[in-house]
Amino acid sequence: MVFVPLIFPGLLTVTIVIVVLIWFERKLTAKVQLRYGPLYVLKPLGGALQMVADLIKFTFAELIVPKGSDKKAFILAPILLFTLSLLPVIAIPVSSKYAAFFSDLSLLIVLSLLTLTPIFVLLLGWASDNKFSFIGSLREGFMMMAYEIPMFISILAMAVTYDSLDLKHIVETQSSSLWGLILNPLAAIAFFGAMLMTTARYPFDITEAESEIVIGPYTEYSSVIFGLCLGASYVKLYVLSLFFAEVFLGGWNPFGGLESLHPILPGVAVLAKGVIIMGLCVFMRSVYPRYRIDQALRLGWHKLLVLSIVSVVLSLGIVGLGVL
């Protein structure tokens, strides 16, 4: 069972997906802005190894711990942040036989583990002893309240629809009925918006806001630990995309039959769906400018929250009418 967290869909797959995703994000943004983007690292493939080069550069950079910082928290917080961002992978089954462990409450386990991560962003902003870090982590604190409630309520809507908190059961229900995206599009939209906010994608990269507060909570970081900080939001995006694929896009359907060949094969379908969602999320970077914090909070509280509550009502209607 070490295979799941370490290789697929865990650490190794995450690293490969992230390296490709960041390159894809930069290339896509460049294409929309009518320019080339990364080019010179492995030129025949359009600079595909740019992120590998960056990763090597991060690894060998000097690790600087500022004098005024709280050293234990400063070093431990990013490590815990990254680990906790990746940990929900164990509870996401990628086929009906393949997961680190099956639980009746896997839906809740994934979300509750992800809920813990903003605490470490707050902690590392506090430990850095830097005003930009502190402002950045305060912004994360504000945002956290705005996105987590709509996210949980929209998932509550889906749990009501499928009458289950088990991801495996949810996906199996979708094999015989419509996919969640069609059953309850409002919940999907609310969850997608909250997902963009959670993972600090544009237009909600208010926490990092390079042009305003350097890079927010991670200002004082360098070397591998900085890589972990930046990687954490992409890992969160990966986990939430897999989660989205399972709850709204039918998981391993319609390829569940491949399970008889090898239990991992349906997981590739889940991964493919997740990667499409991730691609959509990073595409937002080329379309939107950054929202102000008050605009983002208004969107969270006034629109996403209302939308998610309406989606619960819609789900109750679906269950009441016995559509499923």
């Binding site: 929309v32 009518l34 379309v287």
Partner: protein
């Protein structure tokens, strides 16, 4: 005073706006790029481009007009055996072309080259000998000319 009327939007207006934004992004995804791969492809600047200078010592009559007209004091006269010849420092030169215009015997010429890298600042100070060598002109592989296109915006043509 009358209250300014707040414009009431329909509930769907936001959604339409977001969809339009994403649609615009997708539209631009399939447009041709407008930038050049600079060190591999060069833009042809045309015949009147003001670039780096070359001195023809055989034509120069040491009148010092170029040094006097130079607005940024980039040209300085150097004393060699009998005559004085101008030298130039590219730390100061603003490529205005006044020296070329004022030279009574056309001893200075401008080339369409401006992108030369030096290892140090002192290398940018050229005495008459270095000045008379002119800028190193490489045979550039691909030259293109920008054209304004009504449909595509910028378009590059091979020359």
């Amino acid at each position: 005073m009358a209250k300014p009327k707040t414009q009431r939007k329909l509930i769907g207006a936001d959604v339409v706006g977001h969809l339009e934004a994403i649609g615009t992004g997708i539209k631009y995804l399939f447009k041709p790029r407008m930038t050049l791969r600079y060190p591999e492809v060069f833009q042809d600047f045309g015949p009147n481009y003001r670039g780096m200078l070359k001195l023809y010592t055989d034509k120069c009559i040491s009148c010092t007009m170029c040094a006097r007209i130079c607005p940024s004091n980039a040209i300085k006269m150097y004393k060699t055996d009998a005559k004085k010849y101008p030298g130039i420092t590219y730390q100061r030169c603003i490529f205005c072309g006044f020296c070329v215009d004022i030279c009574p015997v056309d001893a200075l010429e401008m080339f369409g080259v401006h992108d030369i890298a030096y290892y140090g600042l002192e290398e940018q100070v050229l005495n008459p000998e270095g000045f008379s060598k002119g800028p190193p002109i490489e045979e550039k592989p691909k030259k293109v000319k920008p054209r304004l296109d009504a449909k595509r915006g910028l378009r590059y043509e091979r020359t």
